[in-house]
Every structure is written in C-alpha cells, then in structure tokens.
C-alpha cells in the first residue's frame, strides 16, 4: 500500500479526476482539477498550495553536526548562519552527484536536511567517529509549499510574524493561527514562495488556516503537473528525471557531477575536505565535459514541421520527462530530459545535457520532435536558465495583491 500524506483528508476530496502521482512511496495529486492549467497560472498569477510532505527530512544535531554536513555536501555549511537555508547537492567519492536538497540551520547546533531520496544510511556512514544525532523526521513533519506573487500577502494574513524581513533562502519559526510552524522562503517554482513545516498532527488545521487566509487572494491547491511546468521554467533540475543518483546508476555514463548539472556554484572547493573534493578539483581544472542548459525551440520551425502534414503545432501542455536527442552540425551533441510548453512565455522550452562545446547560450541546435509518427528535427537555441526569473522571487517587502 502506498502511503497518504497528513494532508490527505483535505486533498483527497479535491481530486476531481482521481489523478494521483507516486512520490517517495506516497501519493500526491497530479492535478486537482481535470486540467492543470488553472493550477499552473495560480503559481504565476496569484498563489498555489502544494503538499510536499513526501520529501525526506532529517534533523541533525550534536557537537559535530557542522562537520558531518560539511563532509557530506558540497556547500560550506560552517558559513551557514542560524535562520539561513542552503540549497546544495552532495556527491560520492568520485564527485558524482547522489542527491540534492536543502540544509536549514534551525539553531546554532541543529540542522534540517531535506532530500529527494532516502539518505539516512549515507548520513550514518559519513558520521563514523563524529558526535552527532541523526533523526529521520520524514513522517513526523508535514510540509506545504505556498508559491506565487500573492504568497507573502496570504501568509501574512495568517501568520503572527512580520514576513517582510524574511529574505530569500532564510527561515523563521512562527505561528499560523496558533499552530507552531517553521516558514522558509524557499520553493521549487522560481517564484516568490514559502515552505511551511509543521508537526504532522497539526497538518489539517494548517491547511484549513491557509486556505481560509488565501482564498480571497486566489490561493489554489495545485498538483505535480503544474509544479513540473513551473520548475522547468525556473530551470530547476529533478532527480531521476534530469539526472540519475550515482547511488542508482548502473554505469558510469549515467552519473553526473555538479559541474555537469549547472551546480558548479554550489561546490565550495575552498572547504577543507568533503566527499568528492579531489575528483571535483580535477574536473574544475579540466573543465566539465557536459553542461546542463536550457533549450528554446524555434516556433517558426515547429510550425513548419507541422504545416507539412497540415496540422497546427501540437504543444506539450503537460511537461514531458524523456530523453530527447539534441543535434548540432552533423551529429548528436546532447539530450533533453525535461521539456514542455511555457504558457507564460509562449515558448517551447526544455532542459538538456549538452557537450560543453555546444553549450554556449545562443548556440543553434536542433531538437528531435515526433510529428505524426515521424521523427523530425526542430530548430532550437541553447539558452541560459532560468527561463523566467521574476524580481519578486528574491525581492523584499511590498508585492502581493
């Protein structure tokens, strides 16, 4: 039996089409309404509420907590201040990425780590000889993600804490209608947004409080289909879709380093020691063989390919997750792993692994498109990500409705 999240009593009655998606052994809504359009637009136009409880969550404490985390992840955890959140990947000894997630410094000596995959064993293995406590709080802690331009306004209505001062990738404890929560200014949409962490027993009252506060501001429960479009626009990668955990890869070629995934900025090579440092130093010197970039498909080219069979362009309104070849010059130079139509940008976009020689923004490439059962190539261009990066994502104060 798959598990349901602590919000299930509220989300289940909303799922009109009974469209559920599996996530870490749980089910969460793919979309609540029959089509996910409105849920997507809520993210960009008002506010959307996601149940992100299936994330793995660990609380790490003890005298050596910083040492453990700094050994595991690529970013410099010692520099992380209380109330700050780091996005970071972590690697194996060969510098190949295992997973990515966030590390929040809750107090001087306690951290919360989120992960897409279970990492308890990996943490314990790295904790040998260290004075740390590692607690898997995945099931005890429920989480909601409140994303969109009205997110701050809505949360402010419900919370007892002045959010104008809460900076991007920072967190605070607060109460929402008397329920103790942690609010972090984080998310997976590339928009203004917050994630709210709560004791699972209080999940339903928290949901009710947010819905009550947010409805006048267009708050809309949203599922994974809408989130997938938004995260591609934001250029945020997804494990098992855009890269394979080095712990799960069967062959070397399936593994990627942070440099190859556009995460070079997270690799603190000045740190004393961490998993994969030696390999990553070498890779930095040589230059990564691959880059993870955006792809913008040329509309006129797409339209022409379809016009040949007398059809208007068929657009992937549900984001796809597949390996799609990218060509340049004479041959294949990479592959896209996620893609879809951006309703906001009116642009067919994708995220792709490209050989470094073909990864410069603006490089003309071609992406494989199947038009009426036949494989064609549409003209495209390499682009920088994020495709959409509104000022409000990082901006402070004001905003909202």
């Amino acid at each position: 039996m798959l598990k349901v999240t602590p919000f299930h009593p509220r989300t289940a009655p909303l799922a009109q089409g009974q469209a559920w998606r599996r996530w870490a052994g749980y089910v969460v809504a793919s979309s609540y309404e029959l089509l996910h359009d409105r849920e997507y637009h809520a993210i960009r136009g008002a506010a959307a509420l996601f149940d992100v409880s299936p994330l793995y969550k660990y609380v790490i404490g003890g005298r050596d907590a910083v040492r453990l985390l700094d050994r595991v992840v690529t970013r410099n955890v010692a520099k992380c201040r209380v109330g700050q959140v780091l996005y970071t990947p972590w690697c194996d000894a060969d510098g190949k990425q295992i997973d990515d997630g966030t590390i929040s410094r809750l107090t001087e000596g306690t951290f919360r780590m989120t992960a897409a995959d279970p990492n308890l064993r990996w943490l314990h293995r790295n904790a040998a000889g260290l004075d740390v406590t590692i607690e898997d709080v995945s099931e005890r802690t429920a989480a909601l993600s409140l994303q969109g331009p009205n997110a701050r306004t809505i949360l402010q209505v419900a919370a007892d804490f002045d959010l104008t001062g809460l900076k991007y990738f920072h967190l605070t404890s607060a109460r929402i209608r008397s329920i103790p929560v942690t609010i972090s200014r984080t998310g997976y949409t590339g928009d203004l947004g917050y994630e709210i962490w709560v004791d699972a027993a209080q999940a339903v009252p928290l949901w009710d409080a947010l819905i009550a506060a947010g409805t006048p501001y267009g708050l809309t429960p949203a599922g994974m289909l809408a989130l997938d479009v938004a995260r591609i626009e934001a250029g945020l990668l997804l494990i098992e879709v855009d890269y394979i955990s080095s712990h799960r890869a069967f062959i070397e070629a399936q593994k990627s380093s942070p440099f190859e995934l556009g995460l070079g900025w997270t690799v603190a090579l000045d740190k004393e020691q961490f998993n994969g440092k030696g390999a990553l130093l070498g890779e930095q010197r040589r230059g990564a063989a691959w880059q993870f970039m955006g792809i913008e498909v040329d509309w006129d080219s797409l339209e022409r390919l379809y016009a040949e069979v007398r059809l208007p362009p068929r657009l992937p309104t549900v984001a796809w997750r597949a390996s799609v070849p990218i060509y340049a010059d004479g041959g294949q130079v990479g592959y896209a792993t996620s893609g879809g139509w951006s309703p906001l940008l009116k642009q067919y976009i994708a995220l792709a692994h490209l050989e470094s020689a073909f990864a410069r923004p603006g490089t003309p490439v071609r992406m494989e498109i199947t038009v009426e059962h036949r494989r064609k190539q549409a003209a495209a261009r390499v682009a920088k990500t994020p495709f959409f990066n509104p000022e409000r994502k990082r901006g402070g104060g004001g905003g909202g409705a």
Partner: protein
C-alpha cells in the same frame, strides 16, 4: 522643430504600441503620441471605484499573436494571460447550458439537452478548426490586391490560391458558406438545441450592427473562433491586471527599445508637404517632424480629421466616408460586494470563472437586434459577462468582485440621441436582465459605470463607438479594409501609414495590424 524622429505613431492603443515597438526594434527612433493620460486605447485598466479595477472597455484577449509576445518579450515586461475556462448560458426555464474546458465534461452537459448536438459538436469543432486553419495565414499577411499585377501582389495571391486549393472541396465549400451565410442559418445546419445555437451565434454579432439572422455574421463567428492561445484554437483568456496590463507590457517593451511615449499629447493634424507627410502638429500648437507618420486611429479620424481633404483623392475620401462604423454595443462595469448567485446554478463555483452569456435563444438575440434596428437599445440585450476578480483577485478588494458586462445592442444612433437619462435607463435594462437570472445582483452593486457607444466615442475617439474601428463585415475586410487599393497600411499621402483595427486583419487585442504595418513601413524604408 527641434526634435526629429524617424517615425511618429499617432495613438497609443495596443496596435500603435506594437507598431512602435517593432520599429524601435529595427533601430528606428520612434515617438508615440497619445491623447489620453494613459496608453492602451480601448485596452486599459482603470480604478473606477476605489479598490476596484476594470478592463474598462476591451475585456478579454484571444488573438494576441504569440510571435508578438515572444518578439517583444512581453512576459518579462509583466504580461500574463490567464485562461478563461467556461461559458455558462442560463436558460429561461431555470436550467442552464455550461461549456467547460474539459471536452468530455462539455459533451456530457450537451447530452442533457440534445444527444445529437453533443455528437455534432465534435464534428463542428473539427470543421471550425479547419476553417480557422484556412483563414489563419491571411491574418499574418499583408493583404494582396487581386486587381493588381505587381509581383508582390501576384505572389501573395498565388500563395493564397495554393493554400485554398489544398483545403479540399468540402472545406472550401464550408468556407464559402461561412463567408456568406448568417450565423443562425449556419448553426441550424448543425444543431437543434436553441440555447447552444444562440450562444454560438452571439459571437457572430459582436461589434457589428447585424443580428444572428443577418447574412455575413457567420464570418464574424469564425473571426472569434480563431481565438487562439498557445496554438489551441477557441481559447480565450484574461490578462492579469486587466487588458491595460497588455498595453503596459507592450509600452514597456517599446520603451526598453528607446521609444518615447508622450501622453496627454493630442494630435491636431498631419503635416503634409508636396504630397508627403513631414510630421504632426499637436493641439498645443507644437510641431514635431518625422520621416514617417503612422496613425493608429480609425480611418475616419485619420483621413477626415487629421489630413486636409485636398491632399487625398476624391474617390478615396468617398470610400472612407462610406466606411461603416455603426457602433452597436455598450459596456456596464459593476463593483460588487458579493458574487452573483445564479438561480440556475446557485452558489460559488467554477462557472463563475468563465464567461456568462445571456443568450437563451436565437429569437431572444434577434429580438434584441430588432430593438436596435429601429433606433432603441435592446430592452433585453445579449450580455457577455465576466468576473475578472474570480481569476485575478487583485482586481478587487479581498472578498469583493468586479463584473464586466459587454452589452449588445446599444445603437450609436439611438432615437433622441444619448443623454444621461438614456444612459441610466440603458444601465437599468442591463441590470434588470442580469437580475432575472441572478436576483441578488441589485443589492450586491457598490458601483456602476455605464458606457454607451457615444461615451466610447467621446472617451476613446472610436468613431460612432465601434469597438473594431469599423464593422467586420465582408465588404470591409482583407484587401477592402479600410478602402479598396489602400489596404496595405499605406495611404494616398506618401510617408503616412495606418496601423489600427481599421486595417487588416481587424479588431480584437491581437496586435497583428500593428506588426504587419511595421513590417510594411520597414520594407518601404529600404
């Protein structure tokens, strides 16, 4: 004349702004002159009552060309188009017809009224898709003149001929029918349920002084069917922040490329020297010179007010004089304390997020036209209602709402003329009509703005209050818009161009004429 510009655009409506942005993108130094204090023309958002924002005139968007959105990077300048999901038609017997964005849901709903119509609906949708595909290329081309032997025209005509040959016999015949029939007759060939026919037919009368039984309305129906979002036909949307947000995004894109936009700057006339436009004179007396002058105003205002008659050929002036406006619609904007509660579908629900069409039967709509034919506003008008605050809550204070009601018919030439009393009587007729289906509306109204065609003309300068800068009837379309031989954005005055809805391909917030005119101007520049 100290300032010198490459081009001056008269009128900061959305087409004028698109035009300016494209010229600026090509490196031209452009000045836009707008008479009103804000840009946008009919696509403006205004806070009519404190806290309540309205798309005062134009209220939905469907045809805004995706290439314009990409070329001008409008999302970066704040444009977001939200889907308009459904259409609800309340019926006099207390039932309703609802059409949803989910196809199966709509089919089941149609089945309640007519199982045959539900099946026909699929086939009809497919035909209209083909028709829209057939006509779509025309929207994207400078219309070739079939009487001309110039290589450009012949090439354009050859392309069109090839295009239409590929249509196949069945679709070509259907297209001919669409071009000539009334929307009622056309729909009678497909459907039996009156509520469905009336709701479909209603889109064939918008902005025209014709009824659903008037020949030629089937084409207007198609024009609205071409509403296209993301390559999907028949999709309509709202701009977040109202239609004014579209204009603001385009203006921002134009400014980012160096365009200068001056508001409160009404133009008195176009300066012409030796048959060539040399600039404009503002009402303030200031004169500004430019190599090219482009008017986004309607043809009557451009040629009969801004240009001295001796500069124009007499035949052309005659054609422009005969060009039909006949404004036929009005607008009522309501600030609401609560949502309307429809008797047929009580409570708050997804039906309030789409359009609500007061078009219970073909006879109802035709009778509404009968009133107008004889110089009265419709006592029971056709209404196209939307509640933008349901989709974009920022349009109203939290928990409150704005309602936009497009009303047809309200003839410009009303018996006795429009005055304050008549405007209020017209507003009452509209509210009474809504109240028949949602009785709580009267007590919910916190503020009411009523706009007659006379108001539309006075505020926006659209002649006779026609929302499309001239009727979308066949004799005023394509190579005939606005006048034979002058449909390519050029005018009899060298260096003077036109770019608004009064030129091909006509009205709606699509920006196509602004863009095509810019391509033409740039082509002539070489």
């Amino acid at each position: 004349m100290p300032q010198r510009y490459d081009a001056i655009v008269i009128g900061g409506g959305h087409n004028g702004l698109v035009h300016a942005a494209y010229l600026a993108r090509a490196g031209k130094r452009v000045l836009v002159l707008e008479r009103r204090p804000r840009v946008g023309g009919a696509a403006v958002t205004e806070e009519i009552f404190p806290g309540f924002k309205f798309s005062v005139f134009s209220y939905v968007v469907s045809l805004l060309r995706p290439e314009i959105i990409r070329d001008l990077e409008l999302p970066r300048h704040g444009l977001e188009i939200l889907p308009l999901e459904s259409t609800l038609t309340p019926l006099p017997n207390g039932d309703y017809l609802a059409m949803w964005s989910d196809h199966d849901q709509t089919r089941r709903e149609l089945c309640r009224h007519s199982a045959r119509d539900a099946e026909a609906y699929d086939e009809f949708g497919q035909l209209m898709h083909h028709m829209a595909m057939a006509v779509k290329p025309i929207l994207g081309m400078v219309p070739p003149d079939p009487t001309s032997l110039s290589p450009g025209d012949l090439l354009g005509l050859a392309r069109l001929a090839k295009h239409f040959r590929r249509l196949g016999e069945r679709h070509f015949h259907a297209l001919c029918k669409l071009m000539t029939m009334s929307s009622a007759d056309f729909l009678d060939e497909w459907f039996e349920f009156d509520g469905l026919k009336a709701t479909k037919a209603a889109s064939g009368i918008i902005g025209t002084f014709l009824g659903p039984r008037s020949p030629g309305t089937a084409y207007v129906l198609l024009h609205h069917y071409m509403g296209e979002i993301d390559g999907a036909f028949r999709a309509w949307g709202f701009a977040k922040g109202g239609t004014g947000a579209i204009s603001e995004a385009i203006a921002a894109a134009a400014r980012a490329r160096g365009t200068e936009i001056r508001t409160d700057a009404p133009v008195a006339r176009v300066l012409v020297k030796g048959g060539r436009a040399t600039g404009v004179a503002l009402e303030s007396g200031e004169e500004v010179a430019a190599s090219v002058v482009v008017s986004g105003l309607d043809p009557r205002r451009t040629f009969l007010q801004l240009v001295e008659e001796p500069e124009l050929p007499a035949d052309f002036v005659g054609d422009i004089r005969r060009y039909k406006f006949r404004g036929s619609s009005g607008k009522v904007n309501l600030a609401l304390a609560e949502l309307p509660d429809f008797t047929c579908l009580p409570g708050v629900g997804p039906h309030l997020r789409g359009a609500i069409s007061i078009s219970p039967s073909l006879e109802y709509v035709e009778r509404a036209y009968d009133d107008a034919k004889y110089g009265e506003f419709s006592r029971r008008p056709y209404l196209d209602i939307v509640i933008p605050s349901m989709i974009d809550p920022a349009m109203a204070p939290p928990g409150k709402h704005v309602m936009s009601i497009f009303v047809q018919y309200a003839p410009y030439y009303v018996n006795g003329g429009w005055d304050d009393a008549k405007r209020e009587a017209f507003g009452d007729a509209v509210v009474d009509t809504v109240a028949q289906y949602a009785p709580n509306i009267r007590s919910a109204i916190l503020g009411r703005q009523v706009l007659t065609p006379a108001d539309i003309e006075r505020i926006l300068g659209l002649s006779e209050g026609n929302i499309f800068q001239g009727e979308l009837s066949l004799h005023q379309l394509f190579f005939l818009r606005p006048a034979p031989a002058w449909a390519k954005y050029r005018t009899p005055v060298r260096g003077l161009y036109q770019c608004g809805a009064g030129t091909h391909p006509g009205g709606g917030i699509m920006g196509a004429s602004g863009r095509l005119a810019a391509l033409q101007v740039l082509k002539d520049w070489r």
